[in-house]
């Protein structure tokens, strides 16, 4: 069956299999930042923004995304400028192996879009579906705080 979806502002018309997941579809369409860590919604490495909300793309049937708008980590940059979230992750040393990073950035974007001034508990809750084995989450939480500051400064 054929579906259309917009990924990082680019429109795609793609032939898909009804049993395909959004994760597989995105990766075979070239969006390699979307990672497979478990395939069962437990690790969050596959998180993408689907119509404005972060979801585990490994649990979304690709057919469900017909007509949807999707953002992946590749789409956070604008005209060669890093998104404040990406800047913050870099500056705070929140990236080690980087495999969980795209999913973390998407979860952070969802969090800060809907809650621009989260408390530390709310940040932890916001990242709770993204597992990381390298960092212990310490610097990632700092990165989200820093990103929130940057985004609020930019907004005002």
């Amino acid at each position: 069956m054929k579906i259309t979806l917009t990924v990082n502002e680019i429109r795609h018309e793609i032939e898909i299999d009804p049993g395909e997941t959004l994760l597989d579809l995105l990766r075979r369409t070239g969006y390699k930042s979307v990672k497979k860590g478990c395939g069962s919604g437990d690790c969050g490495a596959c998180a993408v923004l689907l119509d404005g909300r972060a979801v585990n793309s490994c649990l979304v049937f690709a057919a469900k995304a017909d007509g949807s708008t999707i953002i992946t980590a590749e789409g956070l940059e604008k005209d060669g400028d890093l998104h404040p979230i990406q800047e913050a992750f870099l500056e705070e040393g929140a990236v080690q192996c980087g495999y969980c990073t795209p999913g973390m950035e998407i979860a952070t974007l969802d969090l800060l879009t809907h809650n621009p001034n989260p408390s530390e508990e709310e940040i932890k809750e916001g990242l709770s579906g993204n597992l990381c084995r390298c960092t212990g989450y310490v610097k990632q939480i700092e990165a989200v705080k820093a990103a929130a500051k940057k985004m609020n400064k930019g907004a005002s």
Partner: protein
């Protein structure tokens, strides 16, 4: 990975079409909201999915009768709705924040969650404790208590759950939820939801539901009865929690032993009832 057995993915335009597809498909067709459970495990005989998420079934509305929640509202949408936030002191919000992760809550629907019958479900015991009702639409439309849904597997056959109804809380009611899990992003080793209505200083309505035992949530009638007519004191709470502990049916699984679960029943019921007691005292002031 492609599940090659799936041949068709329907996005029906209205409920009637969805029902027709469901009836035609029989065992080979399944209705989905977010689709999480079927993405995780597609039974071998399922060849068609009927996606309800585009139907106008997701609205959440408050009225004099209580709150109605459309079946395809996501957990996040429920969580963020102002009517839900103020319902019984925010017990639904505090519970939902402990469910799964934000990523999963953005995808999971309330309808899908209630029909999933996961034994560790946090939502089911809470909604049972709140006295929720659901509308099932098949050949006819019927509104039944949520607990009836779990009486048998056949209850939902050929029907679609479309609306969840939360009753308007009477004066003097409070509810609380407790769950015990290994890590923050984990299912419950055991959970419990309690609901109490007090009038003239005495409990006149109680619901004590325990889940993850490891079986699906069910009520503890002996414990519920022990509070009826009594004042909600520390002693009454202690007694009720002990009755709950003794009368609950718990078992072993790889996450916890029956003996440990029995301990958690006691602690969970005690702490929920204590919280209810505090809330009611707070409300009086």
């Amino acid at each position: 990975m492609i599940r090659t057995q799936l041949k068709t993915y329907h996005c029906p335009d209205d409920l009637k079409e969805a029902l027709t597809l469901l009836q035609q498909g029989g065992k080979t067709a399944r209705v989905i909201g977010g689709g999480i459970d079927l993405a995780l495990h597609l039974p071998p005989d399922v060849t068609a999915l009927i996606d309800l998420s585009r139907l106008p079934l997701s609205s959440i509305e408050a009225s004099s009768d209580g709150i109605t929640i459309g079946a395809t509202a996501t957990m996040t949408e429920v969580l963020e709705h102002p009517a839900i936030a103020s319902y019984l002191n925010g017990v639904i919000v505090t519970t939902l924040l402990q469910v799964a992760s934000p990523l999963l809550r953005n995808l999971a629907t309330i309808g899908g969650t209630l029909v999933s019958t996961h034994p560790w479900s946090d939502v089911i015991p809470l909604f049972l404790a709140l006295g929720a009702e659901v509308t099932l639409v098949g050949e006819m439309s019927e509104r039944i208590p949520l607990s009836d849904l779990y009486d048998s597997r056949e209850r939902l056959k050929g029907k679609i759950l479309t609306v969840v109804h939360l009753p308007k809380p009477a004066a003097g009611t409070a509810a609380a939820f407790r769950q015990f899990s290994r890590t923050g992003f984990d299912v419950a080793l055991l959970n419990c939801a309690c609901f109490v209505r007090v009038e003239n200083g005495r409990c006149i309505e109680t619901r004590i539901i325990v889940g993850g035992t490891p079986r699906l949530a069910s009520s503890l009638p002996k414990a519920e009865e022990s509070l009826i007519g009594a004042a909600l004191t520390e002693e009454a709470i202690e007694r009720t929690a002990r009755i709950a502990q003794e009368s609950s049916s718990v078992g072993d699984d790889r996450r916890a032993s029956a003996g440990y679960r029995r301990e958690l029943v006691y602690v969970g019921v005690k702490r929920s009832l204590s919280e209810i007691k505090d809330q009611l005292e707070e409300a009086k002031r």
